[in-house]
Structure formats: C-alpha cells, structure tokens
Amino acid sequence: MKTTSETNASAEGGFRQLIFGLIFGIVFGFLLQKGGVAKYHVLMGVLLLEDFTVIKVMMTAVLVGMVGVYVMHRMGMVEFHLTPTRYGANIIGGLIFGAGFGLSGYCPGTNAAAIGQGNFDGFAVIAGLMAGSWLFAEASGRMKDTVQTWGDRGKLTLPELLNLRRGTVTALTAIVLVVLLVVVELLAPR
C-alpha cells in the first residue's frame, strides 16, 4: 500500500505541486519578514553576537519541526529526505558559505525575503548566487572524486552516530534546544 506522501510525490513535477511550492514559498517569505530576518541588521546582528533573533527563530523552527516530523514519520505519514554527511564537503562548503553570509549579510532564503521588503542590494546577492552556482557546476566534475569523498559517511543521522533510538535523540535534542532557548531569552539583549 502506498503512503500518502508517496502518492503525493508521484505527482512531483505536476502543476499541482508547483502551486503547492509557490504557496509554501509565500508563507515562508511572509514568516521570514515578520520574524525580522529579512533585515540586514538583524542578520549581521547575530554574526556580531548582539541580536539573537535568528537563533530564536531557527531553534524554535527546528524544535517544532523535529518533533512533528518525527511523530508523522512514526505514523507513516511522511518520509525523511536526508542529504549525505560528507565531513570534508560539509565543513569546507560550510565555512565558504559562512564567509559569504558574513559579507552579504543575507542568506539565500532571507535574501529573497529582503528583496521582497525592498532591500535592493539583494539583487547583487542574487547575481552573485547565480555566478557562484555556475562556478560550482564548472568545478563539480573535479570535486566528485576529491572533496566529495573526504569523510563520506552517507545519509548518517545522530541516532545512528550515537547508537540510540531516534525517539531518544529527538527527546534529548528537544531538551537541549529548550534549555538553550531559555538561556538566550534570559541573557541576550535581543
């Protein structure tokens, strides 16, 4: 028997899914702007360790998303969509990404939200994002057998790494996130 999400996934590429994507995108953009993370100074603020709005939004999203997706997965309603853990690529790519984040002051999603609220410097970021994507594609052939193989662990999850049940790790992560959120709320200026 097919699960609901498999049935829906089979419609992928179909017009209906494109409309779903657009609607989810509109909601996402609306929330990003209301959460203040379309603002240059809020994003620079977290990197200057002054304004913890980004941390609060991200950690709450992960907390709520993690618990809900875990429960839905247990009930057979959704599947996981994991990207491979490749320590070399995750770390090197992550550090390159962070440097770009610090320079531009927006990340790929919040940049689209910044443009929506009228921050026109986001257009230069878009041009850069397209150039960087192309550059990556040009280099992708050479990286496949080098960087991408360094520390390749496949679709590794924390439960597998720690050899614990997913439910246990979900509960532990939830506790850690709640504690961190309380600490940030009590101590951070914003």
């Binding site: 994507g21 203040g36 990404f97 994507s133």
Partner: protein, 203 residues
C-alpha cells in the same frame, strides 16, 4: 552533574563577555545592530510556524524547505539559453537537470510573501543601502556594497552546493531530521560568518 554546571558556567561567561564587548564597541563609536528595529512578531511564534510549515511541505509535497538549489536552477536555465553545449558537459547539471520545479516556485514565492508581510506591517524599505551599512561605511559606498553583496552571494552559492544546503536546507530541514552533516555544516556557517562580520564591523 558537574559537567552540566561547568557548561552552564561557560555559557554564562560567554554571554557576560559578549555584553561587555558590545558595550565597549558602542563606547568606541562602533555600529550596533540593536540600534535598528527588531522583528515585527515574536521570533518564537515565527519559528514555531516555520516548524509547522515544514510538516506541511513534508506531508503535502514530500520535500524539505530549501532555498539555495533554486539559484543553481536559474543559473542553469540561463546557461541553457546562452551556452547549452556547456551546460550538457557539467557534471552538476547532468545530475541535476535545470528545470522549473517545486523548489524554484518555493523561492519565487518568498519575495511575494515577504512583500505582503512588509506591506501589512508598514516595513517596506525601498533602499539600496542598509542603514547599518551606511552608518559604518558612509553614504557614498553603494558600489562597495554591491561588490561585497555580489562576492558574498557567489561564496554562499558555491559553499552551499559543496556543503549540500544553506541556512534553510541544512539549518532548518536537515537539522530537524537529525542529519549529522547538517549540524556540522550549520556550525561552520556561523563560525566563518562571525569571523567575517566581526572583521567588517569590529576592526
């Protein structure tokens, strides 16, 4: 429990240090991000709703929220117009055919939603230079800002494709699925992001 106590002590110490560093920066005439308006809604409400949104994308579309790969699609689609023979030769585009898909429409929706949010909240900016940038680098620095923004965008796209995602794909969708690589990547995003931002604003 001594490990917990020690961890709590470290966290407290770091925050005290940050607060004094920030006070010092302001005394020295540094630019503080806190001088500008914060979020319109509680970040906890917004975060929780983004979490719920991720349930919906998993259930209805069988997809995690992500933003960066859509820019690679746009670049690929443009490439197909300008130099189709080149696109066909590139491994990334062989494995990820550039075509209009769910993720591209998701990204297209973001500025629409953000516009609606800013409009309803009276927060439309309509500006080329962020006020905080202007306070730090001066008014006549549009070209410098655009070059910085372009370079930042290029690094982000390259880094995100190498790492396998961005602040959305790894930072929210991957971490919430407890993917090890996503947690590693998001920590790296912030490490180098902090170094670069501090270099721009605190040196």
């Amino acid at each position: 429990m001594s490990a917990t106590t020690r961890a709590a002590g470290i966290v407290l110490g770091v925050f005290t240090l940050l607060n004094s560093a920030q006070a010092l920066a302001q005394e020295l005439g540094g630019v503080s991000s806190l001088a500008y308006p914060g979020p319109a809604w509680s970040p906890y409400i917004v975060g929780a709703l983004i979490g719920v949104l991720s349930w919906l994308t998993f259930y209805f579309s069988s997809k995690p929220i992500g933003a960066s790969s859509a820019y690679a699609i746009i670049a690929g689609l443009l490439g197909k117009i300008v130099a189709p023979w080149r696109v066909e030769k590139l491994l990334y585009y062989q494995e990820n055919k550039p075509q209009v898909d769910w993720s591209l429409l998701l990204l297209a929706g973001v500025p629409i939603g953000s516009y609606l949010a800013a409009w309803t909240g009276n927060e439309i900016t309509g500006q080329w230079l962020p006020p905080m940038w202007e306070a730090r680098f001066g008014e006549g620095t549009l070209l410098l800002r655009l070059l910085t923004a372009f370079a930042g965008g290029a690094l982000m796209a390259f880094g995100a494709r190498l790492a396998g995602g961005c602040t959305s794909g790894h930072g929210i969708s991957g971490t919430l699925q407890l993917s090890v690589g996503s947690w590693v990547a998001v920590i790296c995003f912030f490490i180098s992001g902090i170094v670069v931002a501090m270099s721009l604003y605190r040196i």
